[in-house]
Symmetry: C2
Subunit: 168 residues, 2 copies
Amino acid sequence: MAEGLQPQLGQSLLFLTDEQLRKGIEAMFFAYRGFTADPDRILAQKGYGRAHHRAIHFIHRSPGTTVNNLLSILGVTKQSLNRVLRTLIEDGLVESTVGTRDKRERHLHLTGDGAVLERALSDAQRDRMRAAYRAAGPAAVAGFRQVLEAMMDEETRHHYEAMKDRPE
Amino acid sequence: MAEGLQPQLGQSLLFLTDEQLRKGIEAMFFAYRGFTADPDRILAQKGYGRAHHRAIHFIHRSPGTTVNNLLSILGVTKQSLNRVLRTLIEDGLVESTVGTRDKRERHLHLTGDGAVLERALSDAQRDRMRAAYRAAGPAAVAGFRQVLEAMMDEETRHHYEAMKDRPE
DNA sequence: CTTGGAATGTCAACAAAGCTGACGTATTGT
DNA sequence: ACAATACGTCAGCTTTGTTGACATTCCAAG
């Protein structure tokens, strides 16, 4: 809509037109569906949902994390998280142990079975991600990450960066 | 995990390590929350949800589209879409007209009020997108789009590309 | 021309997962 | 001793997905 108005800028700002932004918005919407499709299929078989996947992912990522910490990462209410956590504990995928230093806290870990499911889910998700990365190439991937990081809320970005370079 | 195993590849494949992929996965999760946060606030005020936003977006994008076409773009069941559409029609944001050629079809359009809400929602979402784009720069944006497109399902990508360059 | 099947859209009922609010219990720290 | 914190739970509501049943419309085969 604006290319006629700012000819002196040449190509440099054309990527900020409403049309380009709309394409980006639709790309996010459609890509997110692909992003979740493979794990969703595995989860549906086991009677779980996306909420279970998120809990499993971050417990795997930060073993021993507390309920409160998980809450602030996931950005949901404790009632909502608790419903998911309860089924995972009942099914023997997650174990909750009373804190040693502070006995009010519960530390969360994946069990062997939990780790198996986590692996299946993240393998499925990584396979698609890897294919996309490989198709796009390293420069594109760097840009992808940059834009996503700039799109996060301030507080969310802190969570993201806090687990940025944790060693394997 | 693998940098010791393939020294002959140098930096070239390091962006495909499990760790890099995991970071991309988390970036998608966290960024999507930011992506939807601003419209969600507007929608909540009016008593609508994300499903209403999606319907409004694509009706705006393709005026006169049929329910069936919208269904295949959104990837939900017709019953689910219908509930959303019904409230939008009742509230006078969308109008549904019986098809002239085929009377089974309903053609969907935004009303004046509907266009006002659409504008508010897309302005909010574009503002964040624009800030992210501006912060990351044009090269990063190109990579962002490339990776997202590679992440879509085959069928989804066809929908995406079908509305790729429709003129304003 | 009729009639049966396919396509389109609507209504009803249920499930997953988010939310608020209230409350109980154990533990910690002042 | 008492207030604050961490966690769990009950009850109830909302949004948005699902399946199943049904009405309307179109089209094509007989």
